[in-house]
């Protein structure tokens, strides 16, 4: 069994024109933030489709963070209108589906290094409290209502 303490894996999609700059600035300014994020730079937060969010969770992410420009500041004028629609929708869907609180969207300008650090820290702590993404375990546990096979080829029996 894995006895290491749980360290959340968070996929962070960050807009090139704002949040990514904030992350960069935080680094240059020596502002410490948790090492749990796997940053992915995108040209606009609107390029993140629900597919990417779902793919991240499927690949084992414990949380997904999206950072975009403040409304009105979008480099492409209206890209972030789409972002918030999608994230609002995905939040509702994931909450209902049973994956609550693991997706978060924040508007962070390239000057807001401190805000970036605070948000990442708080989101990481939130995920840490929620625990690991439950999907892989539910698909594997022999105690679940369906049966899983262990490595020896012996299938657990559950009535």
């Amino acid at each position: 069994m894995d006895t290491k303490p749980f360290e959340p894996k968070i996929v962070a999609f960050m807009c090139n024109w704002c949040t990514y700059g904030a992350a960069d600035l935080a680094g240059v300014s020596r502002l410490p933030y948790p090492q749990n994020i796997r940053p992915i730079r995108v040209m606009c937060s609107a390029t993140i489709s629900p597919h990417h969010i779902l793919r991240a969770f499927q690949s084992g992410a414990d949380g997904v963070f999206i950072g975009g420009c403040h409304i009105g500041d979008c480099h492409y004028i209206k890209g972030n209108y789409m972002t918030i629609k999608r994230v609002a929708f995905m939040e509702d869907l994931l909450n209902w589906f049973g994956l609550e609180g693991r997706l978060h969207l924040e508007w962070i300008s390239s000057a807001e290094a401190q805000k970036f650090v605070d948000v990442i820290r708080r989101f990481t702590e939130k995920i840490r409290a929620l625990g690991p993404n439950p999907i892989p375990a539910l698909l594997k546990t022999p105690k679940a209502i369906w049966n899983g096979a262990d490595d020896e080829g012996h299938c657990a029996n559950v009535a």
Partner: protein, 536 residues
């Protein structure tokens, strides 16, 4: 199948052995899952962790080729605990006492050692199968494609009779047939030993009856099965082969052997809808028609004869198969006076008692299940009700035998072959289909993560799988669907044909080759070696 598909809704227990039903017979798996949700027990025994195992009450992964031992072990436990149906055995069967003695050789501890299934799992399987009635057995090629195929089937039948499950609704021994009309091809006498309706060629009276209708007396000497024909080709006794809608250069075991046999033929005629590898070797190719291009009937796994209707014309000059056959018979000086498939069906009715009551009008869309002897016979959903076709059911004692080829130092793995969900047989049809080809484009071999780690194979790596008969290069898929020490390959892919590897050793009675177990080796392909077959 002794019973019908609709019957599955009445089973209290379903025992699926040697069938990856969700992938190979998805619409039968539909009914299995429905039964599970209704509360029926599901027992799954398959060397791989198949999708159905996730929903099973008990699921075990036994070592490939140990089905007889597994089934005998279950029967041993059933008899030991007095769970068997003694009234049924007394009234409807014979040979139980000698059979019971053979079962003594299969105590659970020994069976666990042979099969790799834990004793407590064996006990649970036996108890569930024996105490939940009616219980049905479903099996497919995982049971039959072994050198012990016939024994495996007999063991299944023994188990069903032992618990009084043959001839009752919701029970039975139900082989799931692999091809759309394999049942019909057998019913129509597409076998060397029987005429249509399983009437033996050696029977004088039968041949006289056929002579009355056909005007020619059919020969009385038994013909050759496919493996015997291949042997005959090698020895020069078979000089011409007429292949209709089949691709032996994909489906036969040990393809090299087959190829050298085909070389020796004077004449190879192939009738197909695609330029299959077999057609590419042919001297004459007849362009035939696919399912939507002709009228006729298919008979499915539950013996249900169904109407097939023409929707479009065959492409180009291609002709309906029955027209090709009529023209060939004509050219050989034996004109067949059929204007449409229905005329042929009328003749079938005259010579095949089990189809006598069917007409195209009666078949409609629902079809009829044979035997259907008269025009007011509603058909027969369940066989052997009240008594067996032969009177009493016989318990055939069977004994465990290892596969013809077992793993050794040179070939340490057991290779099993079969189908995957998006493709079909040798892939001639499915790989011509855009969506299906997109779903799975390349050949692959499944290997357990532990074995993969030992051999430094990662998911997606190119590997070479070899046996004593040949080698192929293909992609590795690392998954715990297979047991450690086992490999699985689908045989749909010509460029890495699984049947280059398979063992032609066959069941002595049914001549069915052992596709499900042979010894194999696997290695990672390093550097720039091309993904081409190594000559052995």
């Amino acid at each position: 199948m002794t019973n019908s598909l609709a019957d599955m809704d009445r089973s209290e227990c379903l025992f699926v052995i040697g069938s990856n039903t969700t992938e190979t017979h998805p619409m039968i798996a539909k009914r299995i899952l429905r039964a599970v949700e209704r509360g029926a027990a599901l027992i799954v025994a398959d060397p791989r962790h198949i999708q159905l195992a996730r929903f099973a009450t008990v699921a075990v992964r036994h070592r490939p080729g140990t089905d007889v031992a597994l089934l005998c072990g279950l029967m041993h436990l059933i008899v030991r605990n007095n769970w068997h149906d003694q009234d049924y055995i007394r009234q409807r069967t014979e040979g139980f006492s000698s059979f019971e003695r053979v079962l003594q050789n299969y105590p659970p501890e020994r069976v666990a050692q042979i099969t790799g299934v834990a004793v407590e799992d064996l006990v649970r399987m036996a108890e569930i199968y024996a105490t939940r009635s009616p219980a049905a057995i479903y099996y497919a090629m995982g049971i039959t494609q072994h050198t012990t195929g016939v024994d495996n089937v007999k063991a299944c039948a023994n188990l069903a009779m032992l618990c009084g499950n043959v001839g009752i609704p919701g029970g039975g021994v139900n082989p799931l047939r692999g091809q759309n009309n394999v049942q019909g091809a057998c019913d129509m006498g597409g076998l060397p030993n029987v005429l249509p309706g399983y009437q033996p060629v050696g029977d004088e009276q039968v041949r006289s009856r056929f002579e009355e209708v056909w005007g020619t007396r059919p020969p009385g000497q038994m013909g050759k099965t496919i493996p015997e024909m291949i042997q005959g080709m090698q020895e020069g006794r078979i000089r011409a082969l007429y292949v209709i809608g089949e691709n032996p250069r994909g489906s036969e075991p040990h393809l090299r052997h087959l190829d050298s046999a085909l070389e020796k033929l004077d004449l190879l005629i192939v009738q197909d809808i695609f330029a299959t590898p077999t057609a590419q070797k042919a001297d004459v190719v007849f362009a035939a028609s696919a399912v939507a291009e002709k009228d006729g009937t298919f008979t499915n796994t539950e013996r249900r004869c169904l109407r097939v209707r023409k929707a479009v014309d065959p492409p180009g000059e291609a002709l309906e198969d029955w027209r090709i056959l009529c023209r060939l018979a004509d050219a050989l000086g034996a004109p067949q006076n059929f204007e449409k498939p229905e005329d042929i069906f009328e003749e079938i009715r005259r010579v095949t008692p089990s189809y006598a009551g069917m007409t195209y009008a009666r078949l409609g869309i629902d079809g009829l299940q044979w035997p259907c002897r008269t025009e007011d016979d509603p058909g027969t959903p369940i066989l052997h009700v009240g008594s067996f076709a032969r009177g009493r059911g016989i318990f055939h004692p069977v004994a465990h035998k290892e596969p013809a080829e077992c793993p050794d130092d040179a070939y340490p793995f057991i290779l099993s072959t079969g189908r995957m969900f998006a493709h079909y047989h040798t892939g001639t049809m499915t790989r011509a289909s855009t969506h299906l080809d997109r779903e799975q484009h390349t050949a692959y071999v499944e290997i357990h993560p532990k074995d993969a780690q030992t051999l430094s194979i990662e998911d997606g790596d190119q590997v070479r799988v070899s046996t004593r008969r040949g080698a192929v290069a293909l992609e590795a898929r690392v998954t715990n669907r297979v047991r450690p020490g086992m490999l699985f390959m689908p045989f749909h892919f010509q460029e890495a044909a699984a049947n280059i590897l398979t063992n032609p050793a066959a069941d002595p009675v049914a001549k069915i080759p052992e596709y499900k177990a042979c010894a194999a080796a696997i290695e990672k392909i390093m550097g720039g070696e091309t993904a081409q077959e190594r000559s052995v």
